[in-house]
């Protein structure tokens, strides 16, 4: 079961990873996008961290909602509404059942897909969300699986987002949003959410 503390801890670990990897994410985005994914996410993480540290949350739903609002109002670009919609979906699902992590992540994925109209294999962040959720369902989620999913985007050809303008030239580069989503799930493992 997710608790307010666990969830907060998870998201703060996520923020830390993003700060550490900010330049790397910018570099990934420079290769196939506009070079700002690290800066965008870091800006959002800072706002999220502030909200999480200041806030008094009575339930998991409010934690996700706070994260969603912070990202929506600070990130902009494509990743702002996408992560914002993901956490908004997770908040809604968390409101009805805090115990089912798979259902919560699925609601997050659905949030992204409704907003981004994206499908599997288009070289976006959801190409990490989908295998991670599958592995979680079969109780086999590990850091390798996450990293593997991130790496898999390298060979994909982008058909959504800015990278799609590159056509075939997008092949051979890891998708920056996939990488940042990878950090989200690594933080989830590091936060010990699964061990509870």
């Amino acid at each position: 079961m997710l608790t307010v503390d666990h969830t907060t801890n998870w998201l703060i670990l996520f923020a830390k990873k993003i700060y550490e990897k900010k330049d790397y994410l910018n570099e990934l985005d420079s290769a196939i996008g506009d070079g700002d994914h690290g800066s965008n996410m870091a800006r959002g993480m800072k706002a999220m961290e502030e909200k999480l540290k200041d806030g008094q949350f009575s339930n998991v739903q409010d934690v996700f909602k706070a994260a969603s609002m912070a990202l929506l109002s600070k990130v902009g670009g494509a990743s702002g509404p996408l992560y914002g919609s993901a956490f908004m979906g997770m908040a809604k699902q968390g409101g009805s059942d805090e115990t089912d992590l798979v259902a919560i992540l699925q609601a997050g994925l659905q949030g992204i897909q409704l907003r981004g109209k994206s499908a599997k294999g288009e070289k976006t962040m959801i190409d990490v969300w989908i295998p991670v959720i599958e592995a979680l369902e079969s109780e086999s989620l590990s850091k390798e699986i996450i990293q593997d999913a991130v790496l898999q985007t390298k060979e994909m050809k982008a058909t959504k987002g800015r990278a799609s303008y590159l056509g075939d030239r997008s092949v051979g580069h890891v998708d920056p949003g996939a990488a940042s989503s990878g950090y989200l799930f690594e933080a989830m493992l590091d936060g010990g959410i699964l061990n509870e």
Partner: protein, 330 residues
């Protein structure tokens, strides 16, 4: 990177302050946001709101004023603004009869503006949107995020701004906007790249004698890179692309915009216009409106874009000439 700035991270805030100060007889900024709105209001008229990432100055804030936009939302450099700010802009702009959002077709912009639209509708404001995707450098296919929105957007501001001032309804303006976008195409060429202040180095590289056709206004890749050509040949390339896309007939009426991308002097823009003039004459098109200037830029990119609008609605030429009071439309 050589720029007259202070901290790269404070570029947006300082620019907007300087902008608001320079034009305080026309417009205001909602504090702590990237929202610039005109102080002129007219009850009962539809309001136009546009915006997007910054770095395209004078777009879009330069076109806020009587006869054009009611408000513009300025995001971080090359980054779409956020829904909460767009919502603020919608609220300050609405004069009771609805707001039209003019969105350049980038995933980020579309998603953020759509979220703002949903939020505004929840607050009881009538909101419609049109999506501008005039850049024919990229094909609209299932393999791309669609065509990009570029310099033509300024002409959309102008034409729909006049329509709004004339008192057309939200539905009418939206319909006109959609028809306009379908009849408007742009294609550009870059001869040197832009440097985002926070990145500190150019977004792509071009050799000393190279140019690239079809580069986007955020440095998105174009369709062909080659040795730099004389203006005349560049004009032929761009006009040929547009001709194929429009399939025009002799005698068709068009409007033309030659747009500088930021670091390109007017000297070059007018020379290009001169070459263009000859080609359009050969094609026997009737040019009812022409404009030259750096209206939709890409920070300090050097290059130009060419926009043509097929004037299928005869009002459009008048609307383009309709008097306005803004910081940037002459």
């Amino acid at each position: 990177m050589k720029k007259i700035i202070n901290q790269p991270s404070s570029v947006l805030d300082e620019m907007l302050n300087g902008f608001t100060y320079s034009h305080d007889h026309l417009l205001k900024r909602i504090e702590n946001t990237g929202v610039i709105y005109r102080t002129y209001k007219e009850q009962g008229k539809v309001a136009l709101v546009s915006g997007g990432g910054s770095g395209h100055e004078p777009s879009h804030a330069g076109f806020v004023g009587k006869g054009m936009l009611s408000a513009a939302v300025c995001g971080q450099v090359f980054t779409s603004p956020t829904p909460d700010q767009i919502l603020e802009a919608i609220k300050v702009a609405d004069q009771g009869v609805g707001v039209l959002l003019i969105i350049k077709n980038y995933s980020g912009d579309v998603m953020n503006f759509e979220m703002a639209q949903e939020l505004a509708e929840m607050e009881g404001i009538e909101v419609q949107k049109i999506i501008v995707d005039d850049d024919i450098a990229v094909e609209d296919s299932t393999y791309t995020a669609g065509k990009r929105g570029v310099a033509g957007t300024v002409l959309v501001h102008k034409i729909l701004g006049a329509a709004a001032e004339e008192g057309l309804t939200l539905e009418e303006i939206k319909t006109m906007g959609e028809q306009l976008v379908q009849n408007m195409k742009t294609i550009g060429v870059a001869i040197s790249p832009a440097t985002v202040p926070e990145v500190g180095k150019p977004g792509f590289q071009l050799k000393d004698d190279e140019m690239e056709y079809g580069v986007g206004i955020h440095g998105e890749p174009g369709y062909r890179r080659e040795k730099i050509k004389p203006s005349k040949e560049i004009a032929v390339e761009l006009v040929t692309k547009l001709k194929t896309a429009f399939q025009w007939q002799q005698g068709d009426h068009y409007a033309v915009l030659v747009n500088g991308l930021g670091a390109t002097p007017l000297m070059e823009q007018y020379i290009f216009m001169n070459d263009l003039q000859a080609l359009l004459k050969d094609e026997q098109l009737r040019i009812d409106f022409k404009k030259v200037g750096s209206l939709m830029t890409s920070i300090d990119m050097a290059g130009i874009s060419l926009t043509l609008v097929k004037l299928v609605d005869e009002k459009w030429a008048d609307y383009l000439k309709h008097e306005v009071t803004t910081a940037a439309w002459i």
